[in-house]
Symmetry: C2
Subunit: 147 residues, 2 copies
């Protein structure tokens, strides 16, 4: 009764252009292979801020993108606090004062430096893996000849 918006759009989700779609927490969870708990946790940590329709959380396209970015950050080893730092400042940008913006640039440079080091680490790690791989195959070959 108090939510007149809930009556019009029922099963028409598929037809809507992606920009205007919205998602339930379960949908998002399945999309990204995380649990609803995780998504709620990210909200609690200030990384997401979905609308409500009554009790239920309604996620819009923007929220989906944020979640995607968050998970990508996680895969790269960033903490939720670090991710939030960037994400929130990004949102505060339009009306941000100069100090905040400079601070943001600082943080960005920092993250970038981090990424560059990771690239180097990956390069080196690859070499190590190749090496171990070669040795292992070698040993396997010899085992074959002995038997």
């Amino acid at each position: 009764m108090t939510q007149p918006t809930a009556q019009a759009n029922q099963a028409s989700q598929e037809a809507l252009p992606r920009q205007h779609r919205h998602y339930s927490i379960g949908e998002l969870a399945r999309m990204f292979e995380v649990t609803p708990r995780t998504i709620r946790f990210y909200e609690q940590e200030g990384l997401l801020a979905p609308r409500r329709e009554g009790q239920k959380r309604i996620y819009r396209e923007k929220d989906r993108v944020r979640l995607k970015l968050t998970l990508r950050g996680k895969r790269l080893g960033f903490s939720l606090a670090e991710i939030r730092e960037v994400v929130m400042m990004y949102d505060a940008m339009p009306d941000g004062n100069a100090r905040q913006l400079w601070r943001l640039l600082e943080i960005l440079a920092d993250k970038r430096a981090n990424l560059e080091r990771q690239l180097e680490d990956i390069r080196l790690m690859r070499l190590e893996l190749d090496d171990v791989d070669h040795r292992a195959r070698e040993v396997l070959r010899n085992l074959g000849h002995e038997a």
Copy 2:
């Protein structure tokens, strides 16, 4: 008295070829900017196994390399358990049976896949950072013109 090896090499550390040097826990800690506690913890987790000279831990070149690899793995977001998995199998390689070796190859492929995904993640993350950076500078420029 019980350690006759301790008498010969006192201050001659610098002159020794790197292969034969050995390190105290404090030295290693400073080299890699971690605490001794961290190094002891890694030992306890089976990632390091230094010699003892009486009570004290003596780290050889091999240990130093292991620590380096461990920390690199950590920077890439691997857990100590994952790192141990590779490191220990690497050591067990020479006399490893075929099953173990195949398992090792499996793990290596897994890690490599992980690295490849990280590369893609880094590429995307860089683009995002560039974007935010550009916007921030834009806003700053406009602030300058207003004031």
